[in-house]
């Protein structure tokens, strides 16, 4: 960080990184796209649902889609009363609401699991992206598939970051034999090509999104560990770390309070690229049938059903392809911008 000192830098290192990040147009666009993706995922039940957002039924106002959205937040089910949004079990809003009743429908008035009568329809005004083999609306499935991608990306990389940072920090800080042993461990995990290892583990596990997230997390931490290790080896020799030790701070305190905040930036870069990779892996695994199981939607299994109906409904191929590509692209853009922003060697030099 010595280069920072030469600059008339104001503010903390974090502000500095943020300022440099903002100067990168590609990165900012990528970040905006990620926020948009998160928004779509978070509000998926409001964007595509088989229930109206607001409607009048028997003289009362109901908010079925909103209630459904809130109930999908973990633990919210304890607070919000149970049962169907209308207080009726098995209420079918589409059949029972009269046509002239007041109702505001979501942008895509179909649920991701809702089966309509038109199977394998090409895109039309009713079904923007067409329907799949069971007559489910593709737009709704794509919107709800975004939820899976976001979850897989963040949770699996969360697990990976936790393991990677712990292993890397301990190896880098303690050095010596601990480092030698942990470095061997990293090397062993690196040697297993991640996709093969994930597939191999999937032999024993039931295919499910949770297992996919855990397995990706358990196999993709090595890059993070290497970065953290390198940073810790560098940082522990710096004056502030030595000063902290001289003041009598314990190893754990130095590692967590003093070194970790300074090692976070490069780790964040790896994590961002890791999210892109996790999204790609999840879609691939779901395509192979080891990930999210149909009828639950995921970009991977939408692509799979497109592959199955290739000749009849070629229109189904494009939406998941574009979605996966864009998701991977925006995380890569942000990762690149972030890498340039945290790399002190790049500072003050325009590419």
């Amino acid at each position: 960080m010595w280069t920072d000192l030469q600059q008339p830098a104001t503010g903390s290192y974090r502000q500095l990184v943020w300022r440099r990040f903002r100067a990168n147009r590609r990165g900012v666009i990528g970040l905006a796209a990620i926020v948009l993706l998160l928004g779509v995922a978070f509000f998926a039940p409001l964007i595509a649902a088989d229930q109206p957002i607001v409607c009048r039924y028997e003289g009362k106002l109901y908010f079925p889609a909103i209630v459904k959205t809130v109930r999908e937040i973990p633990f919210a089910g304890w607070v919000i009363p149970g049962g169907s949004p209308f207080g009726k079990a098995g209420f079918d809003a589409k059949a029972e609401l009269s046509d002239d009743a007041f109702a505001v429908w979501p942008l895509v008035p179909y649920g991701p699991l809702e089966i309509t009568e038109d199977a394998l329809e090409p895109p039309s005004r009713q079904h923007w992206l067409g329907t799949d083999g069971s007559g489910r609306d593709l737009t709704a499935r794509m919107v709800h598939g975004a939820v899976v991608s976001v979850k897989v990306g963040f949770i699996s990389m969360g697990i990976a970051a936790l393991i990677g940072m712990t292993v890397g920090a301990v190896a880098g800080y303690l050095g010596g034999w601990t480092d030698a042993v942990l470095s061997r461990l990293i090397e062993v995990v690196v040697c297993f090509p991640s996709f093969f290892l994930i597939l191999a583990v999937m032999v024993w596990l039931e295919p499910s999104i949770v297992n996919v997230m855990v397995v990706i997390g358990l196999t993709r931490w090595t890059g993070i560990a290497r970065f953290t290790r390198g940073e810790f080896m560098r940082l522990k020799r710096l004056d502030f770390a030595v000063a902290a030790r001289a003041l009598g701070a314990g190893s754990v305190r130095i590692m967590v309070r003093h070194l970790l905040p300074n090692a976070l930036a490069p780790v964040l870069v790896t994590v961002t690229f890791g999210i892109a990779h996790a999204i790609l892996l999840e879609a691939g695994l779901s395509w192979l049938g080891f990930g999210v199981q149909p009828p639950d939607p995921s970009w991977g299994n939408v692509l799979r059903s497109a592959y199955t109906n290739l000749r009849v409904a070629p229109h189904m191929v494009y939406p998941p392809c574009v979605a996966i590509f864009l998701a991977v692209l925006v995380y890569n853009l942000v990762g690149d911008a972030l890498r340039d922003a945290v790399d002190p060697r790049m500072f003050g030099r325009r590419r």
């Binding site: 297993f192 032999v203 024993w204 790609l280 879609a283 592959y307 290739l310 191929v317 991977v328």
Partner: protein, 333 residues
Amino acid sequence: MLQYIINRMLLAVPTFLGITVVTFLMIHLAPGDPLRGMIDESMPAETSEHTYELLQKHFGLDQPLHVQYASWLKRIVTLDFGRSISDHRPVWDKIRERLPWTVGVAALSMFFGFLLAVPIGVRSAVRPNGWFDSISGTTLYALYSVPSYVTAMVLIVLVVTLPIDWIPIRGAYSDGFDGLSLWGKVLDLCKHLLLITICFTYPALAFQSRFVRGNLLEVLRQDYVRTARAKGLAERHVVRRHAMRNTLIPLVTYLGMLFPTVISGSAILEVMFAWPGIGRLMFDSILQRDYPTVMALSVITAVLVQVGTLLADVSYAWIDPRIRYGGGLNHVD
């Protein structure tokens, strides 16, 4: 130099043991008992219990874990991976007949990757930030973000919907392959190779051409290049004869390291194109719960990756006299 290679080799031993221990534990921690599945359930309890014990003894499963590990290790070193559960053929035979298909595609795609990446990289480096550099850079960057299986799907759809039906989308050869003449066979293979080779080639292209560009830019700044220019050599000559040589070697090394990854990263593509390679074998074996084959493939690819990394490190040190890794134990790339 020799010291470094020896150190590196010695370090490979614990890593190799680690790989085998991980795989071995994966076999043994697996829920479910493969032997139970072998016993006929209609047998009386006493007989079946006796059979179970005999089977246990036969497969050595009554031994303590470390003894089992030692004998397993001894067998896999001689490439004896046991017999497949699904069709009782030796696992190594199954792998061996799939290997050429995967290695073939990998080699082809690396060849084409090299063929394309070098000119692109050189062209970009000669005029950095020029129009060619920015266009190729942006295009390749976008391509790099397209997962290869997504490209594969789009290519397959295009073949199906456009009038280019002569491009086959499934398998490695046509039905009447054996009856074809030599040229017919070659043509048939080429047609089948077309799509899958494209999908294997382009993902690495961005990285490779940037790699060439970066290296060449660095080399072009060196003193000996300035000397070459100063004595009046044509720019073309300087780039091709003087600078290129020093950029190609790292690329070759990098490609060598990539090879095992290409072999293992093929599962989805091979399933999509119904290609009879290693990745597809892995996929089929998982569906059939064929543990010996799955474990054999895991060990083999992991060891291949290890060997690739080792060779890359050693050849780097060999080529570039500036690289002399000291200490050994603390070296992680």
